[in-house]
């Protein structure tokens, strides 16, 4: 096992032993069951409601885990000083960061996967058989995972140089900003002025664009997605995470621990 993998595995193990995570997953499964009930009320749109609610639940739970666990990845180890012994091993600081990132992403993959299975079962129950368009719902889950990976990377970055509380604020702030990228690009120049418009257009490309990963409408209506989108979104997430983790590595490399 490489050193990064060792750190990842240990991070995963920590998350698994933290019983809070199981409660969250259970909660999400409950939501999906509720969605089935809600769907019965309005005829003909059970699938739409189920998929929408289910994906929303998976996304929301995933975000909670990504943000709240993500910000603790580094700062908790610094606060509790468990990091001291670890840094005395032949482990580079950036290897530690990448390992932590990998561990939480692995945790989220397993969690999201579990919830997706729940959604699949619920979908089968409601539709009795699946058509090819239903695959979109699961591509939507994969996209949620990509989105969560970016959120984890951001949380990790902030975790390296601010307190947990501030890291939560910054990460959440960036997430919300990332939901309104197209609005930023379409600002009415007559209302905000050309300078502001250029500024917002510029940063709209720098901020993580979480709208890329939002295909809930297509999933709810079982419309197929262009395959190339899956490739592009995967590359986008990988590239963005790499940039953020590089920045985190530089910040963390010369940080004096308490």
């Amino acid at each position: 096992m490489t050193r990064i993998a060792a750190v990842s595995w240990n991070t995963f193990r920590e998350a698994v032993r933290d019983r809070v995570l199981y409660n969250l997953v259970f909660f999400a499964l409950l939501l999906i069951a509720t969605a089935i009930l809600v769907g019965q009320i309005s005829i003909g749109i059970e699938t739409i409601v189920l998929v929408s609610l289910g994906l929303s639940a998976i996304s929301a739970i995933g975000l909670l885990i990504a943000v709240f666990t993500g910000v603790g990845l580094v700062s908790k180890e610094i606060e509790k000083r468990t990091l001291y012994a670890l840094l005395s091993k032949p482990l580079r600081r950036w290897e530690f960061l990448v390992g932590k990132f990998g561990g939480l992403v692995l945790t989220l993959t397993v969690n999201t996967g579990a919830m997706a299975v729940g959604l699949l079962i619920a979908l089968l129950y409601v539709k009795h058989s699946l058509e090819s368009g239903d695959a979109t719902a699961f591509v939507a889950v994969y996209f949620i995972l990509l989105k969560l990976a970016i959120v984890v990377a951001l949380a990790l970055l902030f975790s390296c140089f601010t307190s947990q509380l501030l890291a939560i604020l910054f990460t959440s702030g960036l997430y919300i900003a990332g939901l309104f990228i197209s609005e930023m690009r379409n600002l009415d120049a007559s209302r905000v002025g050309p300078a502001a418009r250029h500024f917002f257009t510029g940063i709209s490309y720098l901020l993580p664009n979480f709208q890329n990963f939002d295909v809930m409408a297509a999933a709810a209506h079982a419309r197929p997605l262009p395959g190339i989108l899956i490739l592009h979104n995967t590359l986008y997430a990988m590239l963005y995470c790499t940039v953020v983790l590089s920045a985190a590595s530089v910040v963390f490399a010369r940080k004096n621990l308490k």
Partner: protein, 297 residues
Amino acid sequence: MTSKRSIAILCLLVLPAGFAGVWRLQRSIDGDLSALHEERDEVLLRSGKMVKLLSLEYAPLMADVYWTRVVQYYGSKRERREQNLDGLWPLLDLTTTLDPNLMPAYRFGSTFLAEARPVGAGRPDYAIDLIQRGIRENPDYWRLYQDLGNVYYFSLHDNEKAAEAYNKGSRVPGAQPWMKIMGARIAERGDTRQTSRLLWSEIYQSAQDETVRENAKIHLMLLKTDDDKEQLDRLLAEYAKKTRRQAESLNELVNAGMLRGVPVDPEGVPYIVGMTGDAELNSKSPLFKLAPLYRRF
């Protein structure tokens, strides 16, 4: 590696290259997503009240966000020449629920909900719902009565209700005098081209939204072509009577001294004589394509 060196590598190499890649990928993704032909709003958020509840005191801010989406939605649909504008009403409904005082939304909505496809959503009933909410929440804003009157006149051909709207609006303090005049005119003469022209002129002059103004301008231009064609048809009939044959081009009229030059349409393209012997728009004119799209009144 020293920290200075790694910071330099990060700032000069990793960040620019990374974000350049991100930018490039984003363009691709934008292309992929627009090919999906879908509205951005999820089913759940169709309920304006739910969104308002979730927004708490940020409702007016969310209204602005949704307003931006309205503009973007309409623009992208027109750009892609799509006929289906079904999403316009829910978006406008949401926007005005979140902020009932957002005037541009009402004025935009009244025009483009009512206009027939593909220019608008073709739902004058929704337009009326929207305007009436606007009037309820903003009883002092007399221009909404103008918009209401226009919807009845142009889309529903209900001259009685149109005149009523104009009259009601004229009684709002601060209303301009022509509201009363317009009300009377519609009640008297009903649906005429001159009345239409007056109504569109008023919109063109008073509208603050670029898209609404542009729309009014096109209507005015097309009304002008109707006038022009009427005049030209009369001249062609005269010519046919005199020479006992149909003119095949307007140049003949010029040669006959009936016209000083071949008249041009508001876009500067000369009229032609069509197959049926009537004056027609030149197919080279931009108005030629627009004419069938805009039901002219």
